[in-house]
Amino acid sequence: MAGHGKDYEKVYVWSVLLRVYHWVFALSIFILIATGLYINWPWTNTWMEGSHQWTMAIMRYIHYVAGMLFTMATIARIYLWFFGNKNEKVWDFAPITPRNIKNMITTSFYYAYLTDNHEHRTGHNAMAGMSYVMTILLAVIQFITGFYLLYPESSFFVGLGSVFGTQQTARFIHHILNWYFAIFAAVHIYIASWNDIRSPEGLISSIFSGYKFFPKGHH
């Protein structure tokens, strides 16, 4: 395996829509976690009456706007699962094919420092793929419960959301998923950095530029 710059080739992996979705999704989630936890526990107790600090109202407003962006990003990703490029299609990384199940095992060895070898894939490895599929599915639950809480008088959203029970149980699920997204974000950013350090694909820059780097003839 050669390690000199000229023996690497630049491969276009992520389309513009995927990159836009990623950053809208990531940014909206940071905002949603911050404002969502504030809604759960409004810790800035305002002791001033007759002031103009609509803290709770503003936090909720920001939460809803970010929620709309989050919903659009999630829908865009589901579209790309089926109509995206080869790396973006869901069967390229979901652990449902023999190729991906095998990859899942080798990747877990790689992550556990048991081996340094790993398959060079242009798209996601199957372990990452599994967590991304799960994240998008949970994102769907998160926006359905969110819209159910937001529009209690809309028969459409009530119809969708009430599969999760009353407003209170939906709110509970919404709250638990908040912690899923927080934990996912922490692990995800860590693993992305870890991979970026361990192998010269240029993983992190790929989600900005769309390109990854591979040893010639290795993908």
Binding site: N45, W47, T55, D116, L149, E153, T166, Q167, Q168, F172
Partner: protein, 360 residues
């Protein structure tokens, strides 16, 4: 509002004026236009009063108790003028065989409205509620057979209420779990506001059908909107002013009760609008948050009543219940620690090896 408004000054009598007023209030509560008052009044006055049979199962009689305190119209008007109450275990004079005979006679002729208060124990626990030697389920099925419609008064008959709260020791179920072939309406609440019950009855009288309902079978005119959206403390909520605990400054200043567990943001009802007991109060107006009693399974989903969210049962110490936010914070902390250890191993390994494998 005092009782005289309906009785026209004389205790125990109902003036024409008081009667019309009662109809007007019920019409408004049903969300009908005021032109309907005459129609409601006509229906209420018609000599053909609907026959009502009222059954009690596993309950505390709080629903009947709160009915007794209704005032527009008061109970006398309701029973004597509006409906023909043929059987009600706590109100009727008869007892024993006399009562049983009354029951048998009342259910003979079809077309009555069946009001159910309380949940029904089932299976091997059916004998936890026996009336006249028969199980609740038996009596319910018997009474429902000839009923034109069923009105569940209170959360117990509507969704099981306190008897179905975990671990549901009597295997209790709601009326709707047993009777599937009759129109059923749920007047949720623990106890429900008597006006909502009376308005549902008047609606039935006027239109000869049950009012439109939400997905949980509650009449939309009373349960169509969230209580929080009509709360007098709502400006404090939006402005971010909260009582931190009972008795603190914020509580005394009348700030929002969200942080002491008010469940009205996820509870449907008209408590904040029509209020209770003729003295214009409801829980939040006297300083206690809403407990969400009009919602299905509120004993399980709304408790702890003074916290925002239900706890999470953990598989340790035989099912410790922990606060959802605390668990989330701990899980995030453990994750961060695990990532730090993982990173530490990686750093140690690369020191030991001296260089990166990939770069060979």
């Amino acid at each position: 509002m005092d009782r005289n408004m309906f009785t026209g000054g004389l205790p125990g009598t109902i003036s024409r004026r008081g009667f019309l007023r009662a109809c007007a209030i019920a019409t408004a509560a049903m969300g009908l236009p005021m032109e309907m008052v005459t129609k409601v009044a006509e229906a209420a006055e018609s000599p053909e009063r609907p026959r009502v049979i009222w059954l009690h199962f596993q309950e505390c009689t709080g629903c009947s108790e709160s009915m007794l305190r209704a005032s527009h119209p008061d109970l006398a008007t309701l029973i004597l003028d509006l409906i023909d109450l043929q059987y009600h275990e706590t109100l009727m004079v008869g007892a024993g065989h006399q009562a049983e005979a009354a029951f048998e006679k009342a259910i003979e002729e079809p077309g009555y409205v069946l009001v159910v208060e309380g949940s029904i124990p089932t299976g091997e626990y059916e004998d936890f509620c026996m009336i006249g030697g028969h199980s609740a389920e038996h009596n319910l099925k018997k009474a429902a057979k000839n009923a034109a419609a069923i009105i569940n008064i209170g959360t117990c008959s509507a969704w099981g209420g306190i008897p179905v709260a975990r671990p549901n020791p009597t295997k209790a179920v709601a009326t709707g779990d047993i009777i599937k072939d009759k129109p059923i309406i749920n007047i949720g609440g623990c106890p429900p506001n008597p006006h909502n019950f009376l308005s549902a009855v008047l609606y039935y009288l006027t239109f000869k059908k049950l009012p439109p309902t939400d997905i949980y079978g509650r009449p939309l005119f009373a349960y169509g909107r969230r209580i929080h959206d009509h709360c007098e403390r709502r400006p404090h909520f939006d402005e971010g002013r909260y009582a931190e605990q009972f008795g603190d400054v914020g509580h005394r200043l009348g700030y929002c009760l969200y942080k002491v567990g008010c469940k009205a943001p996820e509870t449907f009802g008209n408590c904040s609008i029509i209020r209770f007991n003729d003295v214009e109060v409801w829980p939040v107006s006297v300083g206690n948050g809403c407990y969400g009693c009009t919602e299905p399974n509120f004993w399980d989903t709304m408790s702890p009543f003074h916290e925002r969210l239900p706890g999470v049962p953990l598989p340790v110490n035989g099912g410790t219940i922990a606060n959802a936010t605390d668990i989330g914070k701990k899980a995030l902390g453990i994750t961060a620690a695990a990532l730090a250890i993982h990173a530490g191993i990686g750093v140690a390994k690369s020191f030991a090896k001296g260089k990166k494998k990939e770069e060979e």
